[in-house]
């Protein structure tokens, strides 16, 4: 991993479920991207002033894409880019994580993006995947093709991903577990995992970022060893390390 800063043209911006899949032309950044890496993406000019962190979704030798969920003003503006628009891209960033060949991926909503990217290095395992509505579930076919058992649940069906986990709790034993979702989801998952499971669980942490390069100390997350920086010491942290309040 050797981060660079590039102005990349958008090749495509299309809907994937409730999200935007934005593809950029790139020969440099994705080529160096490892498991655990992410990118900072910004619009040219000062609106918004700061770039935003995104997981890689997938890529090849000439392009890569991200999956974007509109949350506030910045993602709203980013969601409107058109083919040919230029984006500021800084990456790959983050601490490289050595992924297991097999393991458990747990995703809520847009949390599917980082775990899908992680699955690039994996040969199979189980995906537990929760979303609001049935039509929000995406990429399940691709996970299956990669050899994953896919277990989904939606709030429409009246269930949360934690309900799924309770049902299949023994599938979690002995495997590395990766969780990506809202703080609320992570907390409840921590609540239902047993000690051994927690010992082998990791979480994708999100924090507001300024620089992505360890420069500004804004992306601090509280851990039992004090604050750590998501951008250089994460975004993947051992679940047991992170303090939730």
């Amino acid at each position: 991993m050797e981060p660079t800063f590039r102005i990349l043209p958008v090749l495509e911006n299309k809907k994937l479920g409730p999200y935007n899949k934005i593809t950029m032309k790139d020969v440099q950044i994705y080529a160096h991207a490892e498991c655990g890496n992410f990118v900072m993406i910004g619009l040219q000019g000062f609106d918004p002033y700061l770039s935003r962190p995104f997981s890689f979704l997938e890529g090849n030798r000439t392009s890569f894409s991200i999956l974007l969920k509109v949350k506030g003003r910045g993602t709203e503006l980013l969601s409107k880019v058109k083919k040919g628009d230029k984006l500021k891209v800084l990456g790959p960033l983050g601490k490289i994580f050595c992924p297991p060949k097999e393991g458990i991926l747990i995703a809520g909503g847009i949390g599917i993006a980082p775990v899908y990217y992680q699955s690039r290095w994996m040969k199979g395992g189980v995906l537990f995947y929760g979303a609001k509505r049935k039509k929000d579930l995406i990429l399940t076919r691709e996970f299956k093709d990669k050899g994953f058992t896919v277990r989904t649940i939606t709030e429409e069906d009246g269930g949360l991903v934690t309900d799924l986990l309770k049902e299949y709790t023994d599938e979690l034993d002995g495997k590395q577990i990766f969780v990506c979702g809202t703080k609320g989801m992570i907390k409840s998952i921590k609540g239902i995992l047993n000690k051994e499971q927690i010992e082998k669980a990791y979480v994708y942490v999100e924090e507001r970022m300024g620089c992505g390069l360890g420069g500004c100390k804004s992306c601090a997350v509280k851990t039992f060893e004090g604050y750590k920086l998501v951008c250089t010491e994460g975004p993947i942290f051992p679940l047991k390390e992170v303090k939730f309040d």
């Binding site: 800063f5 700061l50 970022m209 300024g210 620089c211 390069l213 804004s218 992306c219």
Partner: protein, 295 residues
Amino acid sequence: MIDLSTKLGSLELQNPVLLASGVWDFPYTKIIDFKRLGGVICKGVSPFPKEGNPPPRITETHCGLINSIGLENKGFDYFECEILPELKKLGTKIFVNIFGESIEEFKEIASKIKEVAGVEVNISCPNVSKGGEKFGKDPKMVFSITKAVCGETDLPVIVKLSPSVENIEETAQAAKEGGAMAVTASNTFPGLVIDLESKRPLFKRITGGLSGPAIKPLALYNVYRIKNAVDIPIIGSGGISDYKDVLEYFIAGASAVQLGSIIFNNPLAPIEILDNLICWLGEKGYKNLKDVNKK
């Protein structure tokens, strides 16, 4: 060859572009060629570790950002063993930004800093409960801290002033009388953001420090005021985003400038600014940056 060198009191810098304190760390060396910079100021270091403020620590505003970092750092001992040796390898002039919660703390830390280009005394951080801006708003305290620091070190001392005062000339004068080689004008401006969800201030410490292009005309004016009242070299800081801003600061009275939050918006800004400065001087027929201010 166009010569961008500039004199900052006793120091000769190869160009006026420094990286400001608190915005960069070693990973930036992958993006920016540090050897091209006039120098860098490292993140504030205090005698004892400071864990910093609870998140959120940063948010955006129109053409700027507000931070409430709270001077997170691992303390001087760690700095001396782990960071300083690496800083010295960067191939550019190093200024160590120091922070203390009392005059004693400033003295303690100042006495230990060796073999760098200079020390920048941070008495203007708006994001801490002790010291910081509280010191920087009181000319007497500015004088005392500057004098104490200068008594402990032979290195050039730069005092980073707070913009939260009515008359920045007074604190600049106090820094000068305390023995400062230069002043930095100025740090971030205290600002407020309300979170509409919780209907409370977004930051736990209520305010954060506003930086970025939004503040440029205000910080530039601080430089101009000091220039016209106090005979001391000035490092401009606040909202610089392109080479034109550097020129404005230079004409207003700064001998060097610091780039801060612009590197979050565009990490290549320091290099682009240097390139564009050279182009501009060339187009205007200047051979030296110093000529710009010749009548």
